[in-house]
């Protein structure tokens, strides 16, 4: 039993989930994470590369990979151990100009082999900013109803006020748990 086996087994044993935070640059991925973590969000700079954060949520260990928005950073979620359990796609609700970009990126992403079956949570971020698009509008703009390959859900949220952040995470954790740890969700 080598390290690679240990890593793989630890997902089952320690109830770990691997969650990717993705989205165009300036969508607010790192800010959301900092807010959840109770850190100061006033001094967030663009993420070059990626960060791994670990939270305990419910009885699960969430390993969250916050990956910078640039396309060149894709290799970082080509991971060494296993497929991704969930994707959190963060959208800047005020950025109407790039909504089309955003849709294309998202749909391309879902074609990836290593993401097959992963749950998809869309965060319509920056709801605190006046004039931003609603979750319904965004759902349409991103053609979410057209996604059949993944379980998905959209939550409007705000990294600044903390609106819906935990609720959204709750949904995604629940969805993954039902797939990976069915026996413990239904028996525990």
């Amino acid at each position: 039993m080598g390290l690679l086996t240990i890593i793989r087994k630890s997902r089952q044993k320690e109830r770990e989930m691997r969650i990717l935070f993705l989205g165009l640059d300036n969508a607010g991925k790192t800010t959301i994470l900092k807010k959840i973590n109770g850190e100061d969000i006033s001094s967030v700079s663009p993420t070059l590369g990626f960060n791994i954060k670990t939270f305990i949520h419910r009885k699960y260990t969430l390993n969250i990979w916050d990956v910078g928005g640039q396309r060149t950073l894709r290799p970082y979620w080509r991971n060494y151990f296993e497929q991704t359990d969930a994707i959190v796609w963060v959208v800047d609700s005020g950025d109407r100009m790039r909504m089309r970009d955003c849709r294309e990126e998202l749909h391309n992403l879902l074609l990836e082999d290593r993401l097959s079956g992963a749950s998809l949570l869309v965060f319509a971020n920056k709801q605190d900013i006046h004039g931003s698009m609603s979750d319904l509008e965004i759902s349409e703009a991103l053609d979410l109803p057209g996604i059949k390959s993944h379980n998905w859900k959209i939550w409007s949220c705000s990294a600044v006020t903390g609106l819906n952040l935990i609720q959204g995470l709750d949904w995604v954790v629940e969805d993954v748990a039902h797939r990976l740890y069915y026996s413990s969700t239904s028996f525990a």
């Binding site: 080598g2 959840i36 290799p75 079956g117």
Partner: protein, 1127 residues
Amino acid sequence: MDEDSQETRLFAVFERHDEFVAAQNTLLVVDLFGEPNREEEDVELDCSRKLIMIFGEYQEQSYLLDPYLESLVSPVAECLRKYALTCVNARVTQSSHSRVERLADLLHNYIKFRGYKTITRFFPHEISDLSIALDFIRLPSGPVSDLSQWGLRYAVLLWLSLICRIPFDLQKFDDATRSGETANAIELVGKDRLNMAGLEREGAATLLARFYARKDTKQQLASFVEWSITVFRSSDIILSIGVLQVLCELVKSGSSEQLQAFTQKFLEITNTLEHSTPLVSNTLVRKYRTKLLSRVALRLMPPRVSRSKLTFRSLDGDVKNQTDNGNVDDGDEDIDVPEEIDMILESLFKSLQDKDTVVRWSAAKGIARLSERLPSDFSSQVLETILGLFSIHSVAGASVYDTPAIAEATWHGASLASAEMARRGLVQTSALGSLLGWLSKALYFDIRKGAHSIGSNVRDAAAYVIWALARAQDPESFSPYARELAQWLVSVALFDREIHIRRAASAAFQEHVGRMALFPHGIDVLRKTDFYAVSVRRNAFTVAAPQVAEHLEYRSYLIDHIISITLRHWDVAMRELGAQALRRICELDLKTLGLECASKMAGFLHSVDVSDVHGALAALTGISEAYRVQGSEENARNRQKIFAFIAIVSQDAVMAPRNGLILAAACDLIASSLTLQEVGLQEKTSVPHWKRIVDQGLRHRSSSVQQAAAAAMASTSSLIDCSLDSLQQSLGYTLGVLDYNAHPHGFSEVVKCLLDSVDPNSSGRMSSIEARRNCFQALPKIVANVLPRLTEFLDALDSGLDDYTMDERGDIGSWVRMACIQGLASIFEDLFRVSGSIPQFANYLPAQRYHSVIARILRQGVERLDNVRQIAGHCLLRLFRIPLPNISHQEEWRIKGSELMMKLFLNDASDAMTSWSVGEWLFPKAVELLRVQEYRQPLLTGLIHSVGARTGSTHRPASSSLVSFARGLPLCPSDSGYSLFELCDDLIECAQGRTTSNAVVVPILQTFNMLLEADVLSHLSSVHSGPSKLEKLLNIATRNVLRLKNVQRVQESMKIVVNLLVVSSVSKSSSERIIDFLSHPYPKIRTSTAEYLYTLIQSRDLGWEADEAVEELLLETEWYSLRKACK
């Protein structure tokens, strides 16, 4: 996991659910008491196999079946229950063995798939089930007692283990008169099977553990523990393992008040075991002993709220204080630690150094779990002790290489324990320095042991520690070590010998980059060394390593690693790759790095260790190669300096007959570093004996050394004229690469020598097949330079196509044939290209000659060996594509039937190049070429050869294609194309010339038989002179039959004769000859003739009604023993 993680598919849901249920239902509806008939048996077996296959597919993601498990397993368990009930009620003992076995097997596979704990839950557990299961398993001579029904026993034992947890007093099940009967029965069922070697033992142990964990079995538990002590004294290994399994399970899941009384007993037991030599020599005994010890210890230390240092933030309010506890905890550090703990830990430390991995693992986990419950100063002492283990076998100042081999176990155990501690956040910042110090050595732990090495497990475990530290430690405590740690990990990820270690190091690196962000250029370097980049060793060494070395922080460390470890590695391949990696890295800054590395390498040339010298020479070659590629005068001087290093290696070392490796490396170095200046120095050269080294290389018996020496010769000859003295095998290599344009004087001798060496009629022909192959390979090389004397070459290469030499290695002539095919093709290509400038091209290569060679290559393209066909096909397509010679009447050189070929082979461009080796693809196309008259005869010969092949993948497609081709042919010859008549004629022609050669005649007879059986030839007698052809065939088949020794040939002849019965024109004459076979001296021939004849009479229309008496006679006669004429 390794590679398979990429290869096995990842699933998101249980896609094959419906299919699975259907197959399972088929197995569940059958009557277990009735034997299946043959068809049913087949169907059920298929279902069973299918289920197992689906299990296999999902094994790695077994959790995906969880939502369905209840609906899947319950019916199976219910089926078992019903079966048991019927057996018990009716006292039946007769049931279908195979069906019951399949049912049990299905349950066993579920358990294997998802674990017994999960699966057992779905077994029925009504009160009434207790007596069913119990009676069933005790049924005298019932199915459970059948020795081969281990799966059934296992399932029923597990079932019982579930039922016996019912919350009722077992006495309620007893007859009034015999109290305690039920409990005793259950215990007996378990105990009786505790000494079985198979899985049943595990089932029995589970049952007993559950049984003793009951509240009403206190008495029995006490006596079981007493009994177990006698078992251990008796040294019955299997039974001891069983008993230990019960105890381990019990200590884990039993209630504490029940167990408290036995703590001392358990410790006594572990003590007894340690001193029982026969028991302690068994791995499993040691493993369970370790397990028992650590579980007893965990019972002694109550669990506390985790004071783990893992500072993960919890998002839920109510669990939150978990992490804050670290500070609060300091208050209750004065927990009582029972004194037994000390003793247990000591014993666990011993197990940590056990010679078996499983024991070390168990100890490591036990120690870490226990430490989690200990006060923090105590647990840091534990860590200190673990670290102390590293130093046991380390002599101060010595490198890892001098560590004794037994250190492997200790280091592995210590690393595992450190990793388990680190994972639980039990490594204090103060201990980090010394831990990392040891890890820096463990990461490179590699002890040579004969022709292999040990220690990859230590390296893996070291990566595990570092990975675990990344998850549990905070960045501040790591920052002083970050830079070094990054260098260690990268060098292991790039340069370890094993793929899983490279990946493990890469994983640890990634974890640190993502969590600590302390590594220099972490993200860039990670991209260059990720899981995939390091998978292929060559890629890691020659692509990823130089990329990483672009960062100065890593460069010198990588170079040092290559020089001090990789180039001295015990594996040649590692040294060679290491040399390439070093070259690539030096090329980043050749000016500074080149000579610096070279002089370091020169230091190793003194070594007495062959590997060191070889590694150093290989590295020097690489650097010198780098200089050569860059050119410039200064670099030439540098190469001269490197060349001078050769003198350092002792001549004895180079010249020793067994040091071929060094000799080859030295030749390589000469080839890459020899300069004109150096040669000009004549006697004053810095390496006076370099010519002798090359000479020695040419004479060496290993071909790789010869090749290296030939390369050295080539580079010498490009500088100066050199006279030859070379021998046999290496002759080919050498002569092929010499530069004749510069020094033409020896050329005709060389050619004569080569031709002589391969001429079958010459006394100078070389007897060694390798030597001949080398010579043939040399010929086209020379032609590339020199055109005249072409026809001689062609003749020689052409005759090489007839080399069918066989020895115990098989058809070794094929090496020569392949070399010749390729040689011919490249000669033609060259020739056509320069055709414009050759006066009288037709004299060199007459069109007819060209076509006959093409036909003969075509023949090679349809013969038996896949690789020969592949090469022939490849060459043909190459020839097909080259433009025609640039001369008058060029059309004469166009390949015949080119339109047909174009249609057949160039239609699907994608696979055209690759498929000649695949019989199914090739033969249906190849037979079509028979329509091309010019190539027909050789092609037919090749096809017959393939029909006669014993290789199924050649024989089958070749025969079936030939038959269907024949079927599609018109009967009579016409002007436009081929006909069936001509095909037969050609085949008979082939056979007639060489009736004595079985290799020729047997395949032809086989071919005819196929055609006859397929009813293709029956109309032949209606054609003019058709009957006479068939007579000829009959003649070939029957002549001298009684004198033939080859059974296969007689068989085929017999079939011809019998088959011809159907053909009206020859049926009379053939029927007269059948007697010869029915009365043949070989019993086997008589029997098979009768059989074959009978089948024919039964199945074919003979034009007359066969006498029933004949049929009967054929059937009834004892052909094997009798020998009589009949009919």
